[in-house]
């Protein structure tokens, strides 16, 4: 277990290092970073002086190491537009994104896990077909389009829910449903197949054979055992949730990290983009690490290879 933990930690470090390289390259792939940062009316002299000052004339690896050193201390430079440290801007927006993502996961799990369970218990019957057809449709639908349709129906037509912004619970409903639907279909399908697998196991047959009611068999034996994979699936879908948050926040003008990043890209505010990509990636890697370790701890059958 300890060796496994160590290996996973080292692996996460690799990943963070690799990502830092990517983030570093964002600015350098543009061609000449000095031209990106300075206003278009800058003279050739000013550009040369700026290059010297920022160290753009140094070899790329020196610049990368310097970038890495700063990034590890949380220094991504100041936002071109607002002048405040880029990391501060990102962290300020974090709570809104966490709130949205949590609500979305809760919604997706509450909808998809029961649907998958019911489908498995009623395999090849009407309820199974209906929920799996729904899941297939859900998987084929761009979730952001569903968001637009919900917006059109509930906010514009019926005037029941606010169109955009953050604040009350009512503001949260549409964005959470939209973001949740990015992953609900997948979770439902996987829950169904996990549940079917568990229902075919020997211990379920034993439980039935000793005369337990169907409810007890399902609730006490099958459900619990199909939960571990389902939890993993939810954790694996976190990447999709984070990505979907970018789009969902844009649709509903939700003041989170994702929208800030889309805005920063169109305004070419590179420090904010770099800080954002780095922070989200590190959060994602950290969550994955915790889930993997927890998973190995919870399920003793997992080999630590």
């Amino acid at each position: 277990m300890r060796a496994y933990l160590f290996r996973r930690l080292v692996q996460s470090l690799y990943v963070v290092l690799g990502l830092s390289g990517l983030v570093f390259l964002i600015l350098h792939l543009t061609g000449d970073p000095a031209l990106v940062i300075l206003p278009p009316y800058a003279t050739a002299q000013e550009i040369a002086a700026f290059r010297e000052k920022m160290g753009f004339n140094d070899p790329l690896y020196t610049q990368y190491l310097r970038f890495l050193g700063r990034a590890l201390r949380g220094d991504f430079g100041a936002s071109f537009l607002q002048g405040v440290p880029a990391l501060t801007l990102i962290l300020e927006r974090m709570p809104a994104t966490v709130e949205l993502a949590t609500a979305a996961i809760v919604f997706a799990v509450l909808l998809a896990v029961p649907a998958g369970m019911v489908a498995a218990l009623r395999k090849d019957r009407l309820l199974d077909y209906a929920s799996m057809l729904l899941a297939l449709l859900g998987q084929s639908m761009p979730a952001f389009w569903l968001g637009l349709m919900l917006l059109m129906f509930f906010s514009v037509k019926l005037d029941l829910l606010p169109v955009s912004g953050r604040g009350t619970l009512a503001h949260l409903i549409l964005p959470a449903v939209t973001l949740g639907s990015f992953v609900a279909a997948r979770i439902a399908r996987l829950t169904r197949s996990e549940m079917l697998e568990v229902l075919g196991q020997d211990f379920v047959r034993t439980a039935r054979a000793k005369g337990l009611t169907e409810l007890a068999v399902v609730a006490k034996h099958a459900f619990k055992n199909s939960l571990v994979p389902v939890v993993t699936i939810v954790a694996l879908e976190l990447g999709t949730i984070l990505g979907g948050a970018v789009i969902t926040e844009t649709i509903f003008s939700w003041p989170g990290v994702g929208r800030l990043m889309v805005d920063s890209i169109s305004e070419r505010d590179f420090p904010v983009v770099q800080a954002g990509v780095f922070v989200i990636a590190v959060v994602f890697v950290a969550i994955n690490l915790v889930v993997d370790v927890l998973y190995a701890y919870l399920d003793p059958r997992i080999r630590y290879t």
Binding site: G18, L19, L22, L25, V246, S264, A281, F284
Partner: protein, 276 residues
């Protein structure tokens, strides 16, 4: 068995329908997709524009025919998706082959790279590339291709590892087959079906991703007609013109549904153990 084939047929019909419109957009499109008439803007579906013709699915905020733009948008979406699927498929398969056969350090390095990429939510990668290279049709293809190769690399590598010591490969080796011949004649054909299934799943994913990127303003740029772009513009008129956002989304959904159904039934037929 019969219902599986039924499913496959439904999927193929749906996909060919979209492909047909995409390929022959210029012939089947009722109007010019960029022809504007501000006098005829935001007309509802089934409107008749005097001196011009019918707008079956209505018009947009420039008075352009939505059906014609949908048909031309199909061409853009399909072109991007097909190109990205081919590039990422070939690249990923190559990496998987090299990684699996070479082993050792090369394998280690390549697998580290795939891990880094898998640990990074796709949209971040796309945002980074879009920020650096500026959005365009070409860069959209690059982003999608880069996002897709990992899946093939992983699957192909694990296949190679399990095939490497199988009897027919050992036999071919013993008969003196060269490395290239071995791969081309024996290894690749035996994993072709897996790759086809993967490619269908990827194609469905990429159509949605492309429209999402374009919706965010990071993909195909106007005035080129594209489904994601129509959704982006349509959002501004969501209270005035329901048809503007409804139809492009339906087009995406039907296309992806078709591909998903084909992918599902192909997997059941060709490679039931594959989990994607």
């Amino acid at each position: 068995m019969r219902s599986r084939h039924g499913k496959l047929v439904v999927g193929i019909v749906l996909v060919s329908f979209v492909v047909f419109f995409g390929l022959f957009a210029d012939l089947v499109s009722p109007h010019d997709p960029v022809r504007q008439n501000l006098g005829a803007k935001l007309m509802p579906p089934g409107s008749y524009e005097r001196g011009f013709g019918w707008h079956l699915l209505g018009t947009d905020h420039f008075g352009r025919d939505i059906l014609s733009r949908l048909i031309h948008g199909a061409r853009v979406s399909l072109f991007i998706t097909a190109t990205a699927v081919v590039i990422s498929g070939v690249l990923g398969t190559l990496v998987g082959l090299v990684s699996g056969f070479r082993g050792g350090r090369v394998d280690d390095l390549l697998m580290r790279i795939t891990e880094v990429q898998l640990a990074c939510p796709f949209i971040l990668l796309a945002l980074a590339v879009a920020a650096a290279l500026r959005p365009s049709l070409r860069n959209t293809v690059i982003v999608l291709a880069v996002s897709g190769w990992v899946v093939y690399a992983k699957v192909v590598r694990s296949r190679v590892l399990s095939l490497r010591d199988s009897e027919f490969i050992v036999a071919a080796r013993a008969l003196g087959a060269s490395g290239v011949r071995l791969v081309a004649r024996h290894v690749l054909p035996s994993m072709l079906s897996t790759c086809i299934v993967l490619a269908t799943v990827e194609a469905a994913r990429m159509i949605i991703l492309e429209s999402a990127l374009t919706f965010l303003g990071l993909g195909v740029q106007p005035p080129q007609a594209s489904w994601g772009g129509m959704l982006r513009d349509g959002k501004l008129y969501i209270s005035a013109a329901w048809w503007y956002t409804t139809f492009p989304g339906l087009a995406i959904m039907l296309t992806v549904l078709g591909i998903n159904v084909v992918g599902d039934s192909l997997r059941d037929l060709l490679d039931p153990r594959l989990k994607v």
